[in-house]
């Protein structure tokens, strides 16, 4: 019977059945299910109301919760710091890697992806240890240089913990963006570059008129990708600071975890997830438009 199906269809089934089932079961369905759950009352502390449809009740609860406004501000500040640095940093590094005359370029190319390859738990652990209150490297250096008199508990202090999160996050996320830019740079037609040399363009004009124009599509992609990941930054932060001190680094995605597994209000957790997902989705639409823009070339 299998033989009676046309070859093309058979190929499609063989190739797509397994991955598509996985994706639909574990990715697509959960998203839809999650959105559904967000409209139900699923608070363990209210057993009699379990599974009741309450419309936007969960959303209202979340928006008016003690943490929402505060965490959104923290998240916003975090993104404000992290997103520009990653975008501009990865742009400059990829340009640097691209210069064939630059003798450091090959070594840079070799090591630049290492932070991305390492499991982020390991990243977080290393950074925690470097800033450790008792044995950390940073304490040791600053002490030796006489800048501080006593070892500080960097992770225990609000703004320094915030800064450490920023540092570690950039360290982890930057390489991938470098990769994206670098790949695009490789496809820059040599002609255009050389023509700009003959036409007399100096470093700045070359950057502005040749590189930037060519990178524009990827710049958009990287921007949206970085933004998306920044607003949902969670895993890395969780391991480094656990959200502390005193929720100072508990960005908004944190509270999904807290609502769901600590407060045990699954409905609220689902609602918050949906909110962040929608926020992300809006950006994804922009992302899609940028893909179209790339295609049109």
């Amino acid at each position: 019977m299998f033989k009676r199906i046309s070859d093309g269809v058979r190929y499609i089934i063989l190739g797509l059945f397994f991955p598509l089932s996985l994706i639909f079961i574990f990715l697509v369905f959960p998203i839809i299910y999650g959105i559904y759950l967000s409209f139900l009352k699923l608070d363990i502390h209210n057993p009699q109301l379990m599974w009741q449809f309450i419309g936007i009740g969960n959303y209202l609860k979340v928006f008016s919760s003690y943490y929402f406004e505060y965490s959104m501000i923290q998240t916003f500040l975090f993104c404000l710091a992290v997103i520009p640095i990653i975008i501009l940093g990865s742009l400059s590094i990829s340009l640097l890697l691209f210069q064939k005359n630059f003798r450091l370029a090959p070594s840079l190319q070799a090591i630049i992806l290492i932070p991305w390859a390492i499991p982020y738990v390991v990243n977080a652990s290393m950074w925690r240890w470097i800033f450790d209150a008792n044995y950390g490297f940073v304490n040791s250096v600053l002490y030796q240089l006489g800048i501080i008199k006593n070892y500080q508990a960097w992770l225990g202090d609000t703004w320094s913990a915030f800064g450490i999160c920023i540092l570690a996050y950039i360290w982890t996320e930057l390489p991938f963006c470098v990769l994206l830019f670098f790949a695009r740079l490789q496809s820059l037609p040599i002609d255009i570059y050389e023509q700009s040399l003959v036409d007399g363009a100096g470093v700045w004009l070359r950057f502005k008129e040749v590189y930037l124009v060519w990178l524009k599509p990827i710049l958009f992609v990287v921007s949206v990708w970085t933004t998306l990941r920044a607003i949902s930054a969670f895993d890395l932060i969780y391991v480094i600071t656990g959200g502390g001190p005193a929720d100072f680094t508990a960005f908004i995605s944190f509270f999904i975890y807290r609502e769901t597994f600590v407060f045990l209000d699954f409905g609220a957790g689902a609602a918050l997830s949906a909110f962040i997902a929608v926020l992300g989705f809006v950006l994804v639409i922009l992302y899609y438009k940028s893909i179209k823009f790339v295609r049109l070339r």
Binding site: F29, L37, A117, I118, P119, Y143, G242, V284
Partner: protein, 297 residues
């Protein structure tokens, strides 16, 4: 070909480049450094930058762990955390899961995008975009639903469960990466083979597959790194060493007060090693892989 004119630019570039190298390599160096220090040296203030009395004590303990070794150590303020006993088993689990996910991605990733690229069936575009877009949702949105699904399918605390969910999360990106690199692919060869009577499946693994080796390498590297390093879902969805993966243990050890520092860092180093090894092996192909077809005109 790509010149850097201007001495100022050159100097800035070198400073920046060296900064990047130090910034990338340093945390790793520090972890190795501490992992080799005996417990007295570790406490030195200011910290030692090179282990003057290096010891592989921690590594030895990890690889030869016995129940008796866990717990307080005579004459020292540090102790060996219980979790240390789990390092080897979870390392094995991580490797099994990572390799399996990698294989699944290699087998099903490129072939899916090949299907999307060559066999254009109705609604294939929509399907493709669903696959890619869903992956762009923040992971936090999926926590609860996946939890529920795992419960329903009885996949808790199983390596199979992890393999399935990781595959679902990595396949979309593998498909996307492969698809981008199919631009410029010589479809004429395949069309000729079709006319000659080959079935599409044969065409795929005899013609297409050998040509996209760089893509395979990229996909393999990416999926391995993801599956190996994923922490949060592993933490949520496993409850014992039967299925637990290394990142969970690392986070537990790192968070343990007064755990033997060299052991903590040794765990971190061991955690880093497999992906770094895979990375070094695949590096040649990865850089080529992403640029392989975008580099052609």
């Amino acid at each position: 070909m790509r010149n850097i004119n201007g001495l100022v630019v050159k100097v800035v570039a070198w400073i920046f480049g060296i900064f990047i190298i130090v910034w990338t390599v340093f945390p790793i160096y520090w972890a190795i450094n501490v992992s080799l220090m005996n417990e007295i040296d570790v406490l030195m203030k200011p910290a030692l930058y090179v282990p003057i009395r290096p010891t592989i004590e921690s590594y030895w303990i990890i690889f030869n762990i016995k129940e008796a070794m866990v717990g307080a150590r005579p004459g020292s303020t540090f102790f060996i955390p219980q979790a240390a006993a789990s390092i080897l088993p979870t390392l094995t689990n991580s490797l099994i899961v990572a390799i399996t996910v990698m294989i699944i991605n290699i087998v099903f990733g490129p072939i899916a995008s090949h299907i999307f690229y060559t066999v254009k069936f109705s609604k294939s575009n929509i399907l493709f975009w669903i696959i890619v877009l869903t992956r762009l949702m923040p992971l936090a949105a999926l926590l609860l639903p996946i939890f529920v699904i795992f419960k329903i399918l009885n996949l808790f605390n199983s390596l199979l469960g992890l393999v399935l969910i990781y595959s679902a999360l990595t396949l979309p990106i593998s498909i996307w990466i492969s698809y981008i690199n199919f631009e410029g692919f010589p479809t004429e060869c395949e069309e000729a083979a079709l006319v000659d009577g080959y079935s599409r499946l044969e065409i795929y693994y005899k013609i297409a597959f050998p040509l996209i080796k760089p893509i395979i390498a990229t996909v393999a590297l990416f999926s391995f790194i993801f599956a190996y390093g994923e922490f949060f879902l592993a933490m949520l969805l496993t409850s014992s060493d039967v299925a637990r993966t290394l990142p969970v243990i690392i986070s537990s050890i790192v968070g343990t007060y007064h755990a033997l520092p060299s052991m903590v860092m040794a765990t971190v180093v061991i955690g880093m090693a497999p992906p770094l090894i895979v990375f070094i092996l695949a590096r040649k192909y990865v850089i080529r892989g992403i640029i392989y077809y975008t580099g052609q005109r």
